[in-house]
Symmetry: C2
């Protein structure tokens, strides 16, 4: 038993060894050095080096998102799990981390609009969208609704992390974000995604420290 | 653009269609009907039907964990993301959902014990372990430390969801849990895991409603 439980107990050493394994195993050659750091942290969050093949960035995503965070941009999250995955100590400007899903008005708004709570929660982002960094790690309907709102002429966010997960609409919502092209984006193509990946992307953008 | 954004907006319909796709595509034949419902919700949380091959349950896990939750067992989570993924409305007995990682004593305790904050946070579970349902979705060192504490004779939890994720210790900690055999368990073998899967397992155990 004592043999089985000999394990590394140094948090910094665990991070360092994890990131070295990822860089040894993952196919990261097509990323710029700045994109590579985001991809590595996303892979770290899910334990899958093959995720590298599904990650896509628009050219100015990393620089635009980093500049926005440095200027104090709010981070708007579709799910509380995303918001709770953001490491506050890494944020460069004590950025507000916002999730409106649990707002008491959302359920009634969803019923009124005939949509999901996740999509209805986007309505409460309107006043905060200008220059914001968006992190969608759960609901395809949040991303679809955000794209509709951009079509309606709402203020433009600085960057969108589009990583909803699942079997209905996830792949399609991310394709729509990439096709839209108005806002710099990072996506995970296909069904994969999730709150841990979206939060990891924020944490990587927030600080160069690994 | 209007074509690209025609998407399903009915939350219940999205769940139903998602679960039907999972049951059509995933290899679930080796699970009991009760285990299958847990596996399906875990797959739903990560978008990967191939996860089915990595999920393992000890024989009494589902019945023991469900019985504990019905009796009001606390749900002890290693990470705040796990705690925030638990859907409170599904819980059968308004069960407490506890995460001690952010306790102000944890950093000093980690320094004193020469271990990670995630492992040190386990020390604050001692009084709550008896009959609890454990959900570990992040840190291998949490699971390793919990196994050490069981070896030291702490009160026994009812069931352990062992789903830490990553490249250093995750696979080994889950192998150690399965080999230990003292406590009914659910694991995801290998590097995969995460807070969404661990929370999904709790949400599936908490209510039969899909």
């Amino acid at each position: 038993m004592s043999d089985a439980l000999s394990y590394i107990r140094d948090g910094a050493a665990i991070y360092k060894r994890s990131f070295a394994i990822i860089r040894a195993e993952a196919n990261l050659a097509r990323f710029t050095p700045e994109q590579e750091k985001i991809a590595v942290r996303m892979i770290h969050a899910c334990g899958m080096v093959e995720l590298a093949d599904d990650i896509d960035f628009s050219p100015s995503f990393v620089s635009d998102a980093k500049a926005a965070l440095r200027k104090g941009a709010p981070i708007l999250c579709d799910a509380n799990m995303v918001a709770h995955g953001v490491t506050r100590a890494r944020l460069p400007a004590n950025n507000p981390v916002v999730c409106t899903l649990a707002d008491p008005n959302v359920a009634a708004l969803a019923a009124e609009l005939g949509t999901t709570r996740s999509a209805a929660a986007m309505e409460l982002w309107r006043d905060r969208l200008d220059g914001a960094v968006i992190a969608i790690g759960n609901a395809p309907t949040s991303l679809f609704r955000l794209l509709e709102m951009l079509g309606e002429g709402v203020a433009r966010p600085a960057a969108i992390i589009g990583m909803p997960v699942g079997f209905v609409g996830a792949a399609e919502s991310k394709e729509a974000l990439a096709a839209d092209g108005r806002i710099p984006f990072a996506i995970v193509k296909g069904r994969k995604g999730g709150s841990a990946m979206a939060a990891a992307a924020i944490n990587a953008l927030a600080s160069d420290a690994e």
